[in-house]
Amino acid sequence: MKILTEHIDVPGIETIDVFCKHGGYQAVEKAIKKMTPDEVTEEVKKSGLRGRGGAGFPVGMKWSFLAKPEGVPRYLVCNADESEPGTFKDHYLMWKSPHTLIEGMIVSSFALGANTSYIYVRGELMYVIHILEKAIQEAYDKGYLGKNILGSGYDLDLYIQPGGGAYICGEETALLESLEGKRGNPRIKPPFPAVKGVWQCPTVVNNVESIAATSWIINHGGEAYAAIGVGRSTGTKLISASGHIRKPGVYEIPLGITVEDFIYSDEWCGGIRDGHKLKAVVAGGSSVPILSAEMILNTVDGEKRLMTYESLSDGGFATGTMLGSGGFIVMDETTCIVHNTLTFARFYHHESCGQCSPCREGTGWMDKVIYRIEHGKGRKEDIDLLVDVAKKIEGNTICPLGDAAAWPVAAAIRHFRDEFEWHIEHPELAIQPGAVYMRPGASWAQ
């Protein structure tokens, strides 16, 4: 079942003519000509579509929270600042099929009553920005954007804003600050963006994938979308699979297939690379907890884990993880978890905005301690120190970056404590290039 990537490999799909030939912009015609904004919102609510940026908050619900005071403009901002390590699905979608996003933007803006909308694209993706700008110009020429769209009296202007290259600008309030031209520091909530967002006006911030999915929902109805998937995880999800698998890439999966299927079946990842076996998986981008092979394939109850929001977080953080933004990083036996954790900790140290003290100092501290452990200078008390520092950052910061920095470190120690201990006890072995701790009884072969 493919929704967003159905026509993605058609040559020339980035041009509006080819896109329209494959059913493009029908949702715009249907929504603007035949439906009211409230009906569109209702349809999205019915679909059960959940935010694809990481938190998984229902999109329709978010839209209905938008404050609608008289005489104040409302804004829709698309968060295309995808900078989570391991996640590259929005990049792929915007690069291959920019009109999918633009169509969704028009439908969503219409539902929210926004006359100006922004796409905040990560600054590193300059060539994607050029593709999007060309596509927006085509949409203007065809009359899908601008004044009086399709003769309905509804106006919409769509702008692209390149980011300055900061992970923190993917956080919605930091994104709005950056959009306004300020330093990308997260705002203190409340007030939430739904009440005071960009330019102090009510604003909805949604991920690229969430917005792109709305046009299919309008075309086929909310119920059809809700029929795909399991329970409260409806529809399809783009997963960016990377790491030691045979076929890395972006896959659109119907939510509800098993993790085992996703890793081993030839339709998706195609299994672990030859002669190796699965060791650990980071299921939703670098900030979600890492899980060992047994834990990711099965839940504690012995059931097969599914690719859904609920099943992946089954068991809380003790034995579960999160679907997050869908950055599926697979690691085989040759991966050193300490080194991997160091890479993540270093990233968050570099990207912390420095506004609130637990995150500013704590991320740097964790980075330095793990660096010492990795380079054979660890002390016995360092492991408990890391756990304690992570605990003191988590939940005490202004924005979720603190949590995102603390979770991977805490989870790596929770599930791979022996590996950290080995690094501290055998520094002479640990500093060898490519040194990896093997659990007793573990082997390289499959």
């Binding site: 900061a166 923190i168 330093r183 203190i188 140290h349 570099h350 990207e351 912390s352 905005c353 420095g354 506004q355 609130c356 003290s357 637990p358 500013r360 100092e361 704590g362 991320t363 740097g364 501290w365 330095k368 301690v369 010492r372 002390r379 008390e381 120190l385 304690d388 520092v389 003191k392 939940g395 005490n396 910061t397 202004i398």
Partner: protein, 341 residues
């Protein structure tokens, strides 16, 4: 509206924050504030030192809040129940915050001009722990001059953003801000420009630590050797209400008048602060009120009058309980060993 903080209930007006309500009760209950500064708009929420536990959100919705909330920004609701010093989770978190703030802070209090009136000293003394767990090198910066009268020691800065808000809100032209990210972020002027306006000196007063120092006062004296006196003058730029700091007969420093919480009551101009350092230029109003347990009042009014505050006496009592290697003399060990023989 009724709010209960640490089992003390009081009536406050709508729109009061937890911090303001706690301050109405008194300094024993008020959470520490490293970045919050009442005269400055939008300050607060950054240091996380004032995190408190809300065990009941309001009369209507008595659910507890899931996370600790910053007292300086959270407005009270009718029937809210807040736990500050009686909640172990809050105290544990605060210990962590002190640790984080001191992580890259040089412990150069013996040569720092702020020592004795430093908010970070008070905060770490009351809420911190006496031992350190870090073995890492601290981030360091070079001291820089911001104009002729102010020097910035970025090493000591805790990035509370107070000076940024001061420069934004009481002076014209935005030249003062934060550069870089994370723990390498630094306070800076726009590409090394000097801050050049009549009220720039106030950023020294708002600094909770010794990061921004008055170059006319640097290394002249320790705070506890000088004697504060309230004074005023006719100034065409500002109110002229200041505190003069005397060492002997000499005015060594001029600052704004501060309230109980270390907040400036009225901002003063640079002429008053840096240039008027003769008694003849001022009309003396009387001695400044200093809290009895402040180090500033030490050695001035008779030692037996000074009653240590509760946290200080507790810290003094607990100190002996800590097994600190530095307490144990290497000689005593040797004597014991010899006695055993």
């Amino acid at each position: 509206m009724k709010v209960t903080i640490d089992n003390i209930t009081l009536e406050v007006e709508q729109g009061t924050t937890i911090m303001q309500a706690a301050r109405q009760i008194g300094p024993e209950i008020a959470p520490p504030a490293m970045c919050y500064y009442e005269p400055l708009k939008a300050s607060g929420g950054k240091c996380r030192g004032c995190l408190v536990k809300v065990t009941a959100g309001s009369e209507k919705d008595p659910r507890p809040m899931p996370k600790l909330v910053p007292a300086c920004l959270t407005q009270v609701q009718d029937g809210m129940i807040v736990e500050n010093t009686i909640n172990e989770e809050v105290l544990e978190t605060r210990r962590g915050i002190v640790e984080f703030l001191l992580l890259n802070h040089p412990l150069d209090c013996p040569v720092c001009d702020q020592a004795g009136e430093c908010h970070l000293q008070d905060f770490s003394f009351e809420h911190g722990v006496s031992n350190t767990r870090t073995a890492e090198e601290r981030n360091t910066f070079e001291p820089t001059d911001l104009g002729p009268n102010i020097q910035l020691h970025m090493n000591r800065c805790i990035l509370c953003y107070r000076c940024v808000y001061t420069a934004d809100q009481i002076t014209d032209g935005r030249v003062h801000g934060v550069m870089n990210r994370g723990d390498h972020a630094e306070i800076s002027t726009y590409i090394g420009k000097a801050i050049d306006n009549d009220f720039s000196g106030n950023i020294i007063d708002v600094c909770p630590v010794g990061a921004l120092t008055d170059k006319t006062y640097r290394f002249k004296s320790r705070v506890w050797f000088s004697k504060p006196v309230e004074a005023h003058c006719d100034c065409e730029k500002c109110s002229g209400q200041v505190t003069l700091w005397y060492k002997g007969d000499e005015v060594i420093r001029v600052t704004g008048r501060k309230n109980q919480w270390g907040e400036v009551k009225e901002f003063i101009c640079n002429t008053c602060r840096f240039d008027r350092k003769k008694t003849a230029e001022w009309t003396i109003d009387g001695p400044t009120q200093i809290s009895r347990h402040s180090v500033i009042s030490a050695n001035k009014y008779g030692a037996n009058l000074i009653q240590p505050a509760f946290p200080i006496s507790q810290a003094a009592r607990d100190y002996k309980l800590i097994n600190d290697d530095r307490d144990r003399s290497f000689l005593t060990d040797q004597i014991k060993l010899e006695a055993k023989k």
